[in-house]
């Protein structure tokens, strides 16, 4: 699914971090404001999307539901043979001792296997709401797509996939705001990216979670670099780690009260410090060069 890596256009960059609260969204929004149109900003932090706070007046905003097909058992037809129960890897459908099959919708990953394997054709699929996506533009050629999980829902990847699918359909440069952590939702957001930018902070906690994210992304073989946010100097524990691990430090953004003040009003760091635009563009050029040069 990689989008023509190396052409310098139609590139998918994902902003991730490991640790939460390091500035993924801040950087994603700053890049989205700095890079030329057309582009799509895809907010895949679907448990708590917040990029939209920076763009309160989206044009032509429209919402779409995200649904998964989950099994529904017809008790008239079910023979209680248990074939569905034995197949399901997620314990989402259970039939024991000849009893009719019982569905646990929140365990279901919607693989469709039980429907296929049922010899009595007792299972049909019904849509279950997982969340919604919202799409709109904040300026000509710049689209924001936000994924939002339903309250009480535990599975983020289906909503993330829908956001990415929608963003790919737009076929432009895509900036992905990934969820924190290194679990399924992070992997879903990151795995088909051309390049991952890990936003971290120069603290032991930031470094710890960065290390986990690095271990994960090396398994996924997505090229990556690091941005150190709220940095207090060029040399710190994260730069030392990156040097040891041969990871490029793409940018250091110094601690700035002005950025925080703007942020508190829902305004981006490039509004606070327009001089950041140059280094941000340089960073994207570095990424493009790394991808085209195979570095």
């Amino acid at each position: 699914m990689r989008t023509s890596r190396g052409t310098g256009s139609d590139m998918r960059i994902v902003l991730a971090s490991g640790k939460g609260g390091t500035g993924k969204t801040s950087l994603a929004v700053a890049l989205a404001e700095t890079l030329p149109a057309p582009l799509t900003l895809a907010d895949c932090d679907v448990e708590e999307p917040n990029a939209h706070l920076f763009f309160p007046n989206l044009g032509s905003a429209k919402k779409e539901p995200v649904e998964l097909p989950i099994p529904q058992v017809d008790p008239e037809l079910c023979t209680g043979c248990g074939a569905c129960s034995r197949l399901c890897q997620f314990n989402a459908i259970i039939a024991l001792g000849g009893s009719k099959a019982m569905v646990f919708p929140d365990m279901c990953h919607a693989c469709g296997g039980c429907t296929l394997v049922c010899p009595a054709k007792a299972i049909t699929e019904v849509p279950r709401s997982m969340g919604e996506i919202e799409e709109g533009f904040w300026e000509e050629g710049k689209t924001l797509i936000t994924g939002r999980m339903d309250v009480g829902q535990a599975m983020a990847p289906p909503v993330i996939r829908k956001v990415l699918e929608k963003a790919c359909g737009n076929s432009k440069n895509i900036l992905v705001d990934a969820p924190p952590g290194t679990s399924c939702s992070f992997v879903t957001a990151v795995k088909s990216a051309d390049y991952a930018v890990f936003v971290t902070e120069a603290t032991p906690f930031g470094l710890h979670d960065l290390t986990l994210a690095v271990e994960t992304i090396r398994e996924l073989t997505v090229p990556f670099g690091v941005v150190i946010n709220r940095s207090n100097g060029d040399e710190n524990l994260v730069t030392r780690y990156c040097r040891r691990e041969n990871i490029p430090v793409l940018l250091q953004i110094e601690t700035s009260r002005r950025i925080a003040e703007f942020y508190s009003r829902g305004e981006s760091m490039v509004k606070a410090l327009p001089e950041l635009r140059g280094p941000l563009l340089d960073m994207v050029q570095t990424i493009e060069a790394a991808l085209t040069g195979g570095a």
């Binding site: 997620f90 314990n91 989402a92 259970i94 024991l96 001792g97 009893s99 019982m102 646990f104 929140d106 365990m107 009480g152 535990a154």
Partner: protein
């Protein structure tokens, strides 16, 4: 009748474990013969989710008609009911003490899940 009891131990003198889905093991005790076997549950202990459902299936498949544990969540409860397993809640003590209480009829019967699911 076979009775399943949650425990981290090896025999009847071991303390009862209060959690069900993520119990370390079950002792499957046969009230007629007085014999018991140990059914390991560590796979569920480490499961990300669905531990209660899986553990309940294991208990049903072991042929138990009664379960003694500390708590039982909603999904496990449904599966145990489906498998026609009666659920008894104990507050602690050893496996043997729980079995004695079952025999004396002093254990509380669970007519519904007594705790919420863990991740919804």
């Amino acid at each position: 009748m076979k009775v399943a009891i949650t425990t981290a131990g090896e025999d009847l003198s071991s303390p009862l474990e209060l959690r069900f889905g993520r119990a370390t093991a079950f002792l499957i005790y046969d009230t007629e013969s007085g014999n018991f076997s140990r059914l390991d549950n560590t796979q569920q202990l480490n499961a990300a989710q669905g531990a209660g459902i899986q553990a309940a299936q294991a208990v049903v498949n072991a042929g138990a008609k009664a379960l003694i544990s500390g708590h039982c969540g909603p999904k496990a409860f449904q599966v145990l009911k489906m498998g026609k397993v009666d659920i008894y809640l104990a507050k602690g003590g050893s496996v043997q003490e729980a079995l004695n209480e079952l025999k004396e009829g002093t254990l509380e019967t669970a007519s519904d899940a007594d705790v919420e699911g863990h991740w919804v």
